[in-house]
Symmetry: C2
Subunit: 232 residues, 2 copies
């Protein structure tokens, strides 16, 4: 498919990196008796409600590292791990900086980078996204974070912020995500949209079956598939 | 030298890329009869006064692309090039996105990247720095611009903004620049400092002789020299 887009922006958690698998693996090595699958899901479950507290101004602007830490403190109690001290909690919280990419992510991004400007557009904070990219070898041209715009997706300020930074029309930017809510919001701002199907985002026993969305500009089974569809 | 720093932030214009040589080369190919050296210097001469207008609030926040364009409009008259149309002016203004690195910059950055998180901290806007990095192969871990902080260096908000984004102490960041004013301001914020000597920044006939500053933490003759001094 030919496209007017010259900039591709990517959701990261779930789309580019496997948060569930990465967190479960790290938890299993640290706490062999823990239900790591349930712990990872409990952590992620509170992610949207916490961002909502920021967007509704119940909380002041708070970066994801700090939201993740607030959630972690709660679920450590719930999973009988409240004995972890400050250093251990801090180290565990940084697992979000160490998330591993899906196997197709790095080769797909490398191909896309030859033709497009590529960047994350993630609710993760700048240091999280930068540390993650460095550790995982994600070859971004720059790192774009909700933290720059002081608004969390799907707030339109994030998508419109990209247009302003790069002085481009909405049709020149494509949002790439595994989540329909993100893509719907991007489409409302005039961006092009590519859905990446990630049925394993929540592991082998997801809370809901993963739906294959076909209502966006592109429907892809991986980032390598996106590269193929965009003739990279 | 061992250092506490784990993040290196770089001034770009003059420090990493050769603005004078790159602009002169492009002007010479476009306008063989022009005094390209004088034109490039006239353009750069107005750079600090224009940023000062933003910082004094005489102008609202204005990105460097737009400040460069305001200056360009003035000097085209001065150099008898006022016949250039909108498309030509726009294309010429984007020469700042196409500046070439000094020969030591890319190999030096590649070495430094193995041990440090590296990023520009430049008054150039995000799209300028990102396009420049992509064209020149500058291997940044992320792109940091004054545009994120809505303040131009040497305003402390730029240096302190990096500390906040990365949640680090001042001594964990080193500012690298060819300009003493930038380094003095960074040092006032507690950052470590490395001076890079670039005697050819203003070409072969600089308005003032380039001074070799030795009052900062490191004095380097190139970015490769910086990498050697930091044992990369």
């Amino acid at each position: 498919m030919s496209t007017q887009a010259r900039i591709l922006v990517f959701d990261t958690f779930g789309t580019v990196v496997d948060w569930h698998g990465s967190i479960v693996k790290e938890l299993e090595s640290l706490f062999p008796d823990l239900n790591a699958d349930a712990f990872a899901k409990a952590w992620r479950d509170q992610y949207h409600p916490m961002m909502q507290k920021v967007m509704s101004k119940e909380l002041p602007w708070t970066k994801i590292d700090d939201l993740n830490r607030l959630i972690l403190n709660d679920i450590l109690d719930e999973f009988d791990l409240s004995h972890l001290d400050e250093d251990q909690r801090r180290a565990l919280n940084f697992v979000w900086h160490r998330l591993k990419p899906w196997s197709d992510s790095v080769p797909g991004l490398q191909r896309l980078k030859t033709k497009f400007l590529i960047a994350p557009l993630s609710n993760g904070n700048m240091s999280l996204l930068t540390n993650m990219a460095k550790a995982a070898g994600l070859p971004w041209d720059c790192v774009l974070s909700a933290e720059i715009f002081k608004a969390y997706k799907p707030d339109p300020r994030t998508y419109l912020g990209v247009l302003e930074l790069f002085d481009v029309k909405p049709s020149q930017v494509m949002m790439v995500a595994a989540h329909a809510s993100d893509l719907k919001a991007a489409r409302s701002c005039g961006l092009q949209t590519a859905f990446i199907y990630r049925p394993l985002e929540w592991g082998m026993s997801p809370p809901q079956p993963a739906h294959l969305h076909t209502e966006f500009d592109l429907t892809c089974t991986s980032i390598e598939d996106l590269a193929s569809q965009l003739a990279c």
